[in-house]
Amino acid sequence: MAGKVQFELVSPERLLFSEPVDMVVVPGSEGDFGALPQHAPMLTSMRPGVIDVYEAGVVTNRIFVAGGFAEVTEEGLTVLAEEAIPVADIDPQSISTRLKAAERAIEEADSDRARAEAERSLAVAKAFEAAAEGAAV
């Protein structure tokens, strides 16, 4: 396969990943998509999920993101994520803490806005759990 995509993963605090790779599968809000070289330019939001980095047909890197944006340009793929954790580094204990915190927030929510916010973090926590389970299999 000719060419590689320049994959950049940035969080507000730092640049996490910047390497040319064969393919990246991104959890777009309208469905997963794979970014290969020469992909048409696009801009999409992401749902909480896992980014898979492919190198020579196998997944070499899996990174959990809690939503964000992905931009495909001629130069490559740029992912802006507010939170990004390599799946291998997920601490099993942090999953249950997160789930519990999110559930409690839903119960305690006293406004629509707070409830929506809490539901969002629960969705993130669930995706987080799924990502960790996927890694264990």
């Binding site: 950049e8 940035v10 969080s11 507000p12 605090e13 730092r14 640049l15 777009g28 809000s29 309208e30 048409a40 330019p41 696009m42 801009l43 999409t44 939001s45 944006f69 931009e71 340009t73 001629e74 740029t78 802006l80 507010e82 806005r113």
Partner: protein, 295 residues
């Protein structure tokens, strides 16, 4: 004329002050290095987000129904100013210059008949503005970034601002902070957050060509509506990071000056101490000699 003992005490006290200021200087220097590194690492995200926004806003420009965070409420009667200062002092003119600018801005806006509301980040700004403008405060944060600044803290502040904006509490939001120029220079910066000024996409570069062929998922409007609030948090984060680096720079310079001044003071006090001591010895000698001669 101070006695020898007084001078000794003063020299010792200035010496211990010098120890403190030079230690503070070194602490500030190491914190500054960390803050600068953090500021640099935060840059890629901000620049990429700006580029995305530029592309999006450029293609939506002039259309009705643009999000209010971008287009504004249409009014400009109520201004919210977010004043970013530090929690600690002993950093030269760092906080005073922000406060001075804040007072000037508030006065100017009030003269032209606008309502002003203030949100302070950092204890020093709150303390200094409380006397004159305490009635304008609607929110205040302290100890932000005490244990290393995280994006989460900036997001909380950003979300609170958006909440207030959506509740119609203000029309225009600006943030006032010290931008980090260099270790010795900070620049007081007033930056508008809401409505967000669209970064100009340079015409003639490769970007506008790309823009035409962009595909958007789910849609331009939806992405923009999602991107804008996040961008606000990013801007707040940036202001905090810059302010933090500036604070350390300002403190380092201030403490460096203080250390030098203390050194000079010790020198001149020591000279005076020695002179006094010598004068005393001379007087004693003269007394003894003239006493002996009198016999």
């Amino acid at each position: 004329m101070p006695s020898l003992k007084d001078l000794r005490v003063r020299i010792n006290s200035v010496k211990s002050t010098r120890k403190i200021t030079s230690a503070m200087k070194m602490v500030a220097a190491s914190k500054l290095r960390r803050a600068q590194a953090a500021a640099e690492q935060a840059r890629p995200y901000a620049t990429r987000m700006e580029r995305m926004l530029g592309n999006l806003a450029g293609s939506l420009a002039g259309q009705s129904g643009a999000p209010r965070l971008l287009a504004g409420t249409g009014g400009d009667d109520v201004h919210l100013i977010v004043v970013v200062t530090s929690d600690r002092s002993l950093c030269g003119g760092f906080n005073s210059s922000i406060v001075r600018r804040a007072r000037a801005t508030v006065a100017e806006l009030q003269r032209s008949g606008k309502t002003v509301k203030l949100v302070t980040i950092g204890r020093k700004g709150r303390d200094q503005l409380k006397r004159d403008h305490g009635a304008l405060f609607i929110d205040g944060y302290e100890n932000v970034g005490r244990k290393g600044l995280t994006f989460g803290e900036a997001r909380e502040i950003g979300e609170k601002i958006i909440e207030r904006f959506e509740a119609g509490e203000f029309d225009v939001c600006t943030v006032l902070y010290n931008r980090f120029r260099s270790v010795i220079a900070q620049e007081v910066t007033l930056q508008q957050l809401i409505p967000f000024p669209v970064p100009e996409v340079e015409t003639g570069s490769a970007v506008p060509v790309l823009k035409a062929t962009y595909e958007y998922e789910p849609s331009e409007e939806a992405i923009l509506a999602d991107l804008l609030p996040r961008n606000l948090s990013v801007q707040v984060f940036r202001a905090l990071i810059e302010s933090f680096a500036s604070e350390q720079g300002a403190r380092m310079t201030a403490m460096d000056n203080a250390t030098r001044n203390a050194g000079e003071m010790i020198n001149s006090l020591t000279v005076r101490y020695n002179r006094t001591r010598q004068a005393q010895i001379t007087t004693e000698l003269t007394e003894i000699i003239s006493g002996a001669e009198a016999l």
